[in-house]
Amino acid sequence: MMNKKTLFESLQQQGVTRRGFMKYCTALTSLMALPPSMIPIVANALESAKRPSVIWLSFQECTGCAESLLRSHSPTVEGLIFDHISLDYQHTLQAAAGDAAEHAREQAMKEHYGKYLVVVDGSIPLADPGYSTIAGISNLDMLNETVAGAAAVIAVGTCSAYGGLPMADPNPTGAVSVSSLVKDKPVINVPGCPPIPTVITGVLAHYLTFGSIPELDDLGRPKVFYGQSIHDRCYRRPFYDKGLFAETFDDEGAKKGWCLYRLGCKGPMTYNACATLKWNQQTSWPVESGHGCLGCSEPNFWDAGSFYKALSIPDGDYAKAAGYAVATGVALGAAAGFANQKTKSSAVSQHTKVTVDDFDMNKDKK
């Protein structure tokens, strides 16, 4: 059932004071990656916001995205489910099973036709619908049927946003993304393998608060979270600018926390919020733990060659490039991003296998 009360009213009924409400708004504003000057505007919007009904569809996925959301701490998923949204269908989390579960989905669709949100994790197989079905319904049929009455669709995870791992060469299931099928509804892509939990909740919170979808980039991602590259926000960026690189995972440079560009970091062509939001309650993130970015929020990241091969740069001469890097760090990063787009498109037709050699950082010098 959709809660007819506004969020503010239901908090008030629970005995939450205005101070408590303002605190809640402060946390929510931070979660949506909005500046603190927006807190009064968020408070104002939330005073009249109603909980939207959410139908969550899981197709060809590993449940990693749902796991990521369940580990979200601010606010907790319990808070999210009960206070922010009315999660009417999620076949991993709901108590009901079989016919009763499908009935819950149909009922939510009927009651909130035109108003509910559809969250999708996982890609959709087109080669043979038999690869993935729920209650005997093919993923494609369920998507089409459910999206028909939706206000908007949120594609959570790289699989639903861009095809992800199931679509990796040779794509045995004929997997495709949500946005390649849904053309008449707004689709918000929240990629990542998995996405940062606070980014998933932040996008839901944005819809709840403002009743609209956030501003998107040309790949359908909310700009507020995906507006800057990992490289541009990376705390190791100053080392890149100085031309100080780790060459192996245990050399002097690695120990001193130098740039991981030559160890295959995909930060320059990856747009995500890991560098600021971090992971596990802001404990750390891949680059801080000493491993380069895999580029998991970008289309076709799985087919972009080895995770341990440095991005190609225009003249292919790393030593020379590092020399200019002090002055042209930004331009070089952009060029590397462009060069990698080319690598990716050739990798689609010619899948590159990772071998033990890729882990040997000295092989180029031998």
């Binding site: 605190k23 402060t26 946390a27 603190p36 705390y235 100053p238 600021t276």
Partner: protein
């Protein structure tokens, strides 16, 4: 397999000699807003959770700002701590949820964080309750 005591394993904290420069930038931003507060009565907040910190930057900033004369604890949907730093007009505000996890952390440049004042809605509610006595 030879046994090894924990102390035998050499652990090197990364980039001890390296200064990110983040402290310089945020301190000059804070100083700018403190001037704005004095001259134009403009308050300002900085979301500390949206900063691309290097490891240890946030601790360095807190250590530099230090703890001033006043600390306030709020209990609403979990604990919140407000304290003025050694620099008057610069407050650090940390919001926790009921499970004691940090859900918001800000620097507020203000004479008094807004949330500390009694709130009109709550005062109205208090009047109602007092009348019922």
């Amino acid at each position: 397999m030879s046994s090894q005591a924990l102390a035998d394993i050499k652990v090197q904290v990364e980039s001890n000699e390296y200064e990110s420069g983040n402290l310089d930038s945020i301190l000059s931003e804070i100083a700018f807003h403190l001037e704005q507060l004095l001259e134009q009565k403009k308050t300002h907040s900085i979301d500390l959770r949206a900063m691309p910190w290097s490891p240890g930057d946030e601790d360095k900033l807190e250590a530099y700002l230090g703890q001033g004369e006043i600390q306030i604890e709020l209990n609403a949907l979990g604990k919140s701590l407000f304290y003025e730093t050694q620099y008057s007009g610069i407050w650090i505000v940390t919001h926790y949820n009921q499970e004691d996890e940090i859900i918001g952390k800000l620097i507020e440049i203000t004479y008094m964080p807004e949330m500390v004042f009694s709130q009109k809605d709550d005062v109205k509610d208090s009047i109602e309750r007092l009348k019922q006595y």
